[in-house]
């Protein structure tokens, strides 16, 4: 189970959000939508302490910590229980596709190299890149790079995978293969929180859609409900805008 309670983050005097609560059951898939600049990335990054929250409690699996008193060891433990997929892939440029996936298992989990590479190969098969094991990121297409990025997250065996706009940097022709892989993970009941503008993906895959605007979470509901009967005016306005943009 994942639980965020009373999370606050501010940059200088600018409070991005305050008192954010969010809960996920194991296997649940949440999609976060909202206008840009409202703190969706910041919230995801607070969940694994890429940004340090200014207040609040975090629970991921068997680990609970308070933002203001978290120790170095707690933060490392938290990061082992979460995995992150970046908008710009953020693959290790000096590692092959196989090594990118195996790196965390070897260095962080202390799994023997042979075993780690065997598992990494198995993951490469699942993400459809078995033939690219020895390719460096620079030799891969955007779609392939992001699939490796997801493979790296899968290798972490995390309680939850956090996706920050995983298809926003991709050329249109690669978007489907990445969404396809994410749907595959969803079908395997991988717990995930996904920030995306892909409304179709949210409709199909999300158990719950969370709408964020200035200051925090405005409302959350199953996709069928949120998309057809948004309660808050800001949600309605956002959905009108984005659906119009998707049509054109």
């Amino acid at each position: 189970m994942i639980e965020l309670k009373g999370i606050r983050k501010q940059f200088g005097s600018h409070i991005v959000f305050d008192d954010v609560d969010l809960q996920l059951e194991r296997g649940e898939i949440i999609v976060i939508v909202g206008p840009s600049g409202t703190g969706k990335s910041t919230l995801l990054r607070c969940i694994n302490f890429l940004e340090t929250p200014d207040a609040g409690q975090l629970t991921v699996g068997d680990l609970s910590l308070d933002a203001t008193t978290a120790t170095r060891d707690q933060i490392l433990a938290l990061r082992r229980r979460t995995a992150f997929v970046f908008q710009n892939y953020a693959l290790f440029a000096n590692k092959t596709a196989l090594q990118n996936i195996a790196e965390g298992m070897i260095v962080v989990d202390g799994i023997a190299k042979r075993e780690a590479y065997a598992r990494a190969r198995e993951i490469l098969g699942r993400i459809g890149l078995a033939d690219k094991a020895d390719a460096y990121p620079a030799a891969l297409s955007g779609g392939q790079q992001q699939r490796v990025g997801i493979g790296r997250a899968m290798a972490a065996n995390a309680e939850v995978i956090l996706f920050d706009e995983p298809t926003s940097s991709l050329d249109p022709q690669w978007v489907e293969e990445v969404l396809g892989l994410m749907k595959q993970l969803a079908a395997e009941h991988q717990t995930m929180i996904v920030v995306t503008h892909e409304m179709q993906f949210a409709r199909e895959v999300a158990d719950r859609v969370v709408f964020m605007d200035q200051g925090g979470i405005i409302e959350q509901a199953p996709p069928s409900e949120l998309f057809s009967h948004p309660k808050d005016e800001r949600t309605q306005q956002f959905l009108r805008k984005i659906l119009a943009a998707n049509k054109s």
Partner: protein, 224 residues
């Protein structure tokens, strides 16, 4: 004016070449130690380790701000007077120490620049899978940074080979020291120093070829 004594020069070549290994050994040892120290200094500078950062800045400033010859004299003639256990330090060790400290100060800055140039998102990715800062540096950042910095580091290595000639001022009979002795015996200074100049020149040219080859290879690295 007299004609060049070609026979003398040809005879000198094998004699001087027998001192080349010592010159190269001092440069290689200095380079290896300087690389390690430079990486350490660069990491301290980049991560702004409190206290250590101030020390690194002072260190770099001092060793870039004073002549290598002065530093060598300081270590070889000066330091043993203060730290008496250093009395036994020999000229070769003092030279390697001086080269290490002097060049690490320069190399630290090139490595630091290369580290800063590496895409920040890789750092975040490494942290996100639970790596410590030390693991991140060792596994991801430094391998890439040293590659980026390699051409510059090779320049420093070439510079270092030439700088080993200062060891003769500490009484070390390396390439330059041997030449000095030969010239003093024959009084054929021009011939002797011309021969040693050509030897240094050929060594440096050879290394420049290695450097070009390495650069081409490095440009292709991580691309396939």
């Amino acid at each position: 004016m007299h004609a060049l004594d070609i026979d003398y020069m040809l005879g000198l070549v094998p004699i001087l070449l027998s001192y080349l290994p010592l010159t190269l050994e001092m440069a290689a040892a200095g380079m290896a130690c300087a690389l390690v120290l430079a990486c350490l200094l660069a990491v301290i500078r980049v991560s702004r380790v409190p206290g250590l950062n101030a020390f690194a800045l002072l260190f770099i400033s001092f060793f870039r701000g004073t002549p290598l010859l002065v530093q060598l004299f300081l270590f070889y003639y000066g330091l043993p007077q203060v730290l008496t256990f250093l009395v036994a330090i020999n000229g070769v060790t003092a030279t390697i120490l001086g080269l290490t400290l002097h060049f690490s100060a320069y190399m630290a800055e090139s490595i630091r620049a290369a580290i800063v140039g590496i895409d920040r998102s890789q750092t975040e990715a490494a942290l996100s899978i639970g790596m410590t800062r030390a693991q991140l540096m060792r596994r991801i950042v430094l391998p890439q940074a040293t590659r980026v910095a390699t051409p510059t580091l090779m320049n420093y290595f070439i510079d270092m080979i030439k700088s080993t000639s200062l060891a003769f001022t500490l009484g070390v009979t390396e390439l330059m020291g041997a030449t000095q002795k030969e010239a003093a015996g024959s009084f054929l200074y021009f011939e002797a120093f011309l021969v040693v100049a050509v030897i240094y020149w050929i060594v440096v040219e050879a290394l420049s070829w290695v450097q070009k080859w390495l650069e081409q290879r490095l440009n292709r690295a991580y691309q396939r």
